[in-house]
């Protein structure tokens, strides 16, 4: 019969057991207050680093959830404010970036849970805390503006989003100042608004928003894709305007304010007939 690894004798094993038991019993028979004091002192050495790290991670998870909720509430408040502003500006024959008054869609807050760190990233994965009735081509926004569109549904809580930088991305946009329409497309590392006539009034600094007119895509549930991408989501600001001599259209370059440069909170803009959070979803 073996006596243990390294040839440790049975007597030594027993001695270790007795020592451990004696130490444990000593701790057990301490008065309650002394027990807590000893545990506190030992804990500082033995378990404090572990609990510090674990509490930090727990706090991070809680903060992320709270941040998602706060961003959702803040974004809704901003949308409500900008909707009121849009109504006021419309009265003055002007416009602004805001969802149109009467838009009854829902904002489903999600976290970006997977994103490629490379320069050529065209998709990100988003995850929601609760099941979302999402469909392909629903717009995905953050508080700065449009990020992309839902591309592939993985499950009720997970989906892949096609970013604006995706090669086949195209979106109907509107110049806020003039109401002029165009089609936004990514081109290499730039974003270009096409189909803008060479005589149209477009200036650097003009804001661009979604027009509510989008492509009808294969797989879209509703034929009126405009219902999936409401008018008024900020898309970018014009940074360059050229009028090439040999072209009938202007060359308009924009810089999008939104992007997925970190694992942030984004919102899927659901249509009016969608329900999340057991029907208690909030409407912008």
């Amino acid at each position: 019969m073996r006596s243990g690894p390294g040839g440790i004798s049975r007597r030594r094993e027993l001695a270790v057991l007795v020592l451990c038991c004696a130490a444990a019993v000593t701790l057990l028979i301490l008065p309650p207050n002394a027990r807590i004091t000893v545990a506190e002192r030992l804990g500082r050495v033995l378990t404090a680093p572990y609990w510090g790290a674990r509490n930090f991670l727990d706090d991070m998870a809680t903060l992320r959830r709270e941040n998602t909720r706060l961003e959702h509430d803040l974004f809704q408040a901003e949308l409500e404010r900008s909707a009121a502003e849009l109504a006021r500006l419309d009265r003055d024959r002007q416009a602004g970036c805001a969802l149109e008054e009467g838009f009854g869609g829902l904002l489903a807050p999600c976290r970006v849970t997977l994103r490629q760190r490379g320069r050529f990233a065209t998709m990100v994965r988003i995850t929601s805390d609760r099941p979302v009735p999402w469909r392909p081509w629903l717009p995905v926004v953050n508080r700065r503006g449009l990020v992309g569109r839902v591309r592939t549904i993985v499950s009720g809580t997970t989906a892949w989003v096609e970013l604006m930088s995706a090669p086949d991305f195209a979106l109907g946009v509107e110049f806020v100042r003039t109401g002029l329409l165009g089609v936004l497309e990514p081109r290499e590392d730039r974003y270009v608004v096409g189909m803008v006539g060479r005589d149209e009034d477009v200036r650097v600094g003009d804001r661009v928003m979604t027009s509510g007119i989008t492509e009808v895509r294969e797989g879209a549930v509703r034929p009126d894709a405009a219902g999936a991408s409401p008018r008024g989501i900020p898309v970018g600001v014009v940074t360059r305007v050229d009028v090439p001599n040999d072209q009938v259209f202007k060359y308009v370059e924009i810089a999008p304010p939104a992007g997925c440069r970190r694992n942030e909170t984004v919102f899927v803009v659901l249509p009016a007939d969608a329900e999340i959070d057991g029907g208690r979803g909030r409407r912008p």
Binding site: A24, I36, L46
Partner: protein, 163 residues
Amino acid sequence: MRDFLRINIFWALTAFAGGVLVGPLIAIGGVAPDFPLIALVFLGLAAGSYPATVAGFLAGLILDLGDPSLLGAHALLYSCLGYVLGRLRDRLAYGMPVVEAVVAVTVVLVHDLGFLVLSGLSGAETFPLQFFTRSVPDALYTGLAAVPVMRLATWLGLLYRED
């Protein structure tokens, strides 16, 4: 020396990562495997009495520090169980999952029985209701969870090395 390191890494991972990460994930209605005890079973069977007693004392002490109302109770029970498991090392039928599962179930039951008795001695009225409502389901689940852990250890060459 290399085996010593591998065994210690395996039991520490099983005890802490299992208890903190895997346990809550696979818990069913509050019933979860007791990974620190599975780790102790592994260590006793893999390394013998001496390491299992010392490691049991340390693991138990760390558990006690999380709830100092019975400081030393886990340390005492884990030390004794580690010693007994080390002694059982030569007496068990090697490589049989049923045997490993039964050992794990027994260890959990003995541990909980001892702990509840110690709690009772300190004035808490937890015995025997908690033994049947909490310990028995936990013990059965622990037995179930012990089988893949032991199989993994065997596959890694950490258990039954001398056979």
